[in-house]
Symmetry: C2
Subunit: 349 residues, 2 copies
């Protein structure tokens, strides 16, 4: 499965809203349709929307009728703003856009800028692919020989358009290494990424799993049936606070209460040194219908008001370790994250 | 709305599975169909299934062709066993069955036994009605003048076939008393009693409310947007441990973590002095399809394994107080619960 693919004059995006019922693809031929795919969750997951946004800027570069380098760069910046506005929480989106626009800026003329944009978008995708494989290996060393892992949302290849994903890549690597891994998959309301996507991916990969309602985690932990929690991230602040799918924070509180370790797995593109703490992260609020009408079927009475925050913030104090492609970071996170990002900071790597 | 009604030769049960779309009623003319209605969640909620089971035994009394008191009592005990087996967790079910069978046993002949069974089933319903109104008044005194209340599952008239319910009766009484109450309603997966039933009832009652996914509670509490949590119960052990809808335990851990009080509201019929602690409570496991196919619509891939515990146990240490019709009980619960049940214990009241 290839969730996001560059096709020269289009971006091909697997429409994850239709999974697991149907494997349908969108052919995005302009920036607007890439932004739409991101906004509507046809493609989702922080690394995957980063890659898609990078390709979105590359698409603008290829298709814009600009005749000068300056004109093209204005077009790329406009495209970048549109893509970044599609979803506010995952930092991978502005990160990938920034890299592609910067690469184009460094070129000397309009044609070189076009080529540089495409090359950089492909480089971003390749970098994330490698990051996922490295994280999986580093992370699987933390998984015991026999482990019940609880996970939330979807962090597989679908979420990353790379490797075998972030948190899910760790579980799969442990499974492949011969460890007896069983995964409790949170269904992950409201959009049911656990039921629809994680269950589908883990079963294709042959990893033993059991689906549960999000509200069963406490019962499982109290019964000693969870050895560790592994989740992904949408943005990691400079102090180690982690924004991730709504429900992650309460899993972290539960894990701490039961003495269960909680690992966050994310490529360095998800770490944002420009965001000092979790309080500075904008939490996207999505349409109330995702809550009132699961999968488009209305359950609540017409007109029921609903609040639908898509993410929450887990304070660094509740995170056992952050697994990145450059190493496993443990508290204190501020210095640890700074160290793995390197002296020049993330953008200058 | 009357969720459970005695009609002389039938029990009329509102089919809650069809709410809020349709207000349809089942006419149960034998014990089997009452047990079916309980098993299938046409009627649910601890007090309501207690009342329905009491009427189920009364129905057996009226309809059994028994010619002797002994024959009738054997028939009632058989009916009682079938009703009790329908759902294992709520103690209200065996409690109501026990009361009705006992009343019949005390009668001198078969006709008097029939009459006594019907009278006692009606008395059980009347007692729960009064209990709900008393709890609401006692409980509302604990609600601040301006309060954001978080609740889980459905604890209204639908759950109790009595008054305005247990936990929900408290919220409604506070609202009617002029307090500025706003309720965060957990949708309550897997059966969505919050979306389908609590949202419907609170809106009919005019109580301001907002529906949220079960996984949003942590975010709301961390943001200071929850002043108290009020829930119902399916069985309260002698030590104060509380079995209630799956997800209650993790709300209790979160409430304790954030310094938010958690109140349990339940009539004394839900307290089981014969169950020493929460470990002795049997937790019902329901069909995995409730998780894999919300509202009958499959979301997970075919054959996805799922675990579906319907309840969990909240240890007494996480419960701020238990609101009953005989008073508000605070820790230590063992002595407090014994005191309100009276010297002769529950059955002998």
């Amino acid at each position: 499965v290839n969730p996001v693919a560059w096709e020269g004059e289009a971006v091909r995006i697997l429409d994850q809203r239709k999974l697991p019922v149907e494997e349908a693809y969108l052919e995005c031929r302009d920036v607007e349709s890439v932004a739409d795919a991101i906004r509507s969750l046809a493609v989702r997951g922080a690394p995957a929307i980063g890659i898609a946004a990078g390709f979105g800027v590359a698409l603008a570069a290829v298709r814009a009728p600009a005749r000068s380098r300056g004109e093209l760069l204005r077009e790329l910046r406009r495209a970048g703003r549109m893509l970044i506005a599609a979803r506010p929480t995952a930092v991978n989106l502005p990160w990938a856009v920034g890299r592609v626009v910067e690469a184009a800026s460094a070129a000397s003329d309009v044609d070189a800028a076009r080529e540089a944009a495409v090359a950089e978008a492909l480089a971003v995708a390749g970098r994330e692919d490698e990051a996922c494989l490295l994280m999986a290996e580093l992370g699987q060393a933390l998984v015991p020989e026999k482990a019940n892992v609880l996970t939330h949302c979807n962090t597989g290849r679908l979420a990353c358009a790379a490797g075998f994903g972030t948190a899910q890549g760790v579980m799969y690597a442990a499974h492949r290494a011969g460890k007896r891994v069983h995964v409790w998959v949170d269904e992950t309301r409201p959009v049911l990424q656990g039921s629809r996507l994680t269950a589908w991916e883990l079963q294709r990969l042959g990893v033993p799993m059991t689906l549960v309602a999000d509200s069963a985690a406490g019962l499982l932990m109290a019964g000693g049936r969870v050895d560790l929690v592994i989740v992904g991230a949408d943005r990691i602040a400079a102090n180690g606070d982690v924004a991730n799918k709504i429900g992650t924070y309460q899993l972290a509180v539960l894990a701490a209460h039961h003495g269960v370790p909680l690992y966050v797995t994310a490529p360095t593109s998800t770490i944002d040194p420009a965001t000092p703490t979790g309080r500075d992260i904008l939490i996207e609020e999505r349409a109330p219908e995702e809550v009132t009408a699961p999968g488009g079927v209305p359950f609540a009475p017409a007109g029921t008001p609903a609040l639908n925050p898509a993410f929450d913030v887990t304070p660094a104090a509740l995170v056992t370790a952050i697994i990145t492609e450059r190493g496993v970071v443990r508290p204190p996170y501020r210095s640890g994250l700074r160290r793995i990002l390197g002296h020049r900071g993330r953008r200058g790597e």
